[in-house]
Symmetry: C2
Subunit: 126 residues, 2 copies
C-alpha cells in the first residue's frame, strides 16, 4: 500500500473510531510518541498515555464528526475538513474544524493539530 493510501486509511479510521466510540481503534492509529494539540494554541498532549486520556475524555462528550471535503494528502502530511457536534457543559455545539496531521512511514499519526477558533463554534441547530 502506498503511503498516500495508508494515510487515507488512517484518516478513515479516525472518523470510524469516533463513530464507534472505540478508543482502542483510535489509539491503533497513533505512532509510539504522538502529540495532539486540540485546538491549536492549547498545550499539546504528548505521548500515548496523554493522548489516550484526551480522546477518552472526548468520547464522553457524545462527539459526532462528519467529513466535509476531500482529504488533502501530500508527502507525510494531511489536512482534512470536518464538522463536529459535541455536548459541552450541557449545550450541543457545532464546530467546524480542519485537522492537520503528520505521519510516520507506516501512516501512523505522529502529530495532530486541530484548527478552529471562536468564529467556528456555534450552538447546534435543533
Amino acid at each position: 500500500m502506498s503511503l498516500d493510501d495508508k494515510i487515507r486509511a488512517t484518516i478513515d479510521g479516525y472518523f470510524e473510531g469516533f463513530a464507534k466510540q472505540d478508543i482502542d481503534l483510535l489509539m491503533g492509529l497513533f505512532s509510539d510518541d504522538p502529540s495532539v494539540e486540540d485546538p491549536v494554541g492549547t498545550p499539546p498532549h504528548k505521548g500515548r498515555d496523554a493522548v489516550k486520556a484526551f480522546y477518552s475524555g472526548s468520547l464522553t462528550m457524545d462527539v459526532e464528526l462528519t467529513p466535509d471535503g476531500p482529504y488533502r494528502i501530500i508527502g507525510h502530511e494531511a489536512m482534512f475538513p470536518f464538522w463536529g457536534l459535541v455536548t459541552f457543559e450541557g449545550t450541543r455545539m457545532k464546530f467546524e474544524v480542519i485537522d492537520h496531521m503528520t505521519f510516520d512511514d507506516n501512516g501512523k499519526i505522529k502529530t495532530m493539530r486541530a484548527y478552529f477558533g471562536p468564529s467556528n463554534m456555534s450552538p447546534a441547530e435543533a
Copy 2:
C-alpha cells in the same frame, strides 16, 4: 478591527485578487518578508520579489479559485479549503486545496503553505 476580522478580510482579499487577476491587490495582503510554499514539499518562495513572481506566474494560468467551506481562524493562523481550476500545459485541471497561512498583528500574510497532492488533482469536467 479584531485580528480575527483582519485575517478574514485578508483571505477574502486573496480570493478577490485571483478573481480580478490583480497582482497589486494580492501583494498588498502580504507582510514585508513573506514565504510561500505551494505545494507543500516544494522550495518556498521567500521575500516579496519571489512571492510576486510566483503569483504573477499563477495569474497567467487562468486560475479560478472557489472557497469550499468556512475559514478556520485561530490566533495568528488560518486554514481554508477551496478548489481551483488552472490551465497547465494546455489541460484544464481541477485541484482541491487547503491553504495554511500565518499572519502578523496587522493580518498580513507571513507564510503560506498549500496542501494538495496527486490524489487532489484531476482533469476538470467539461
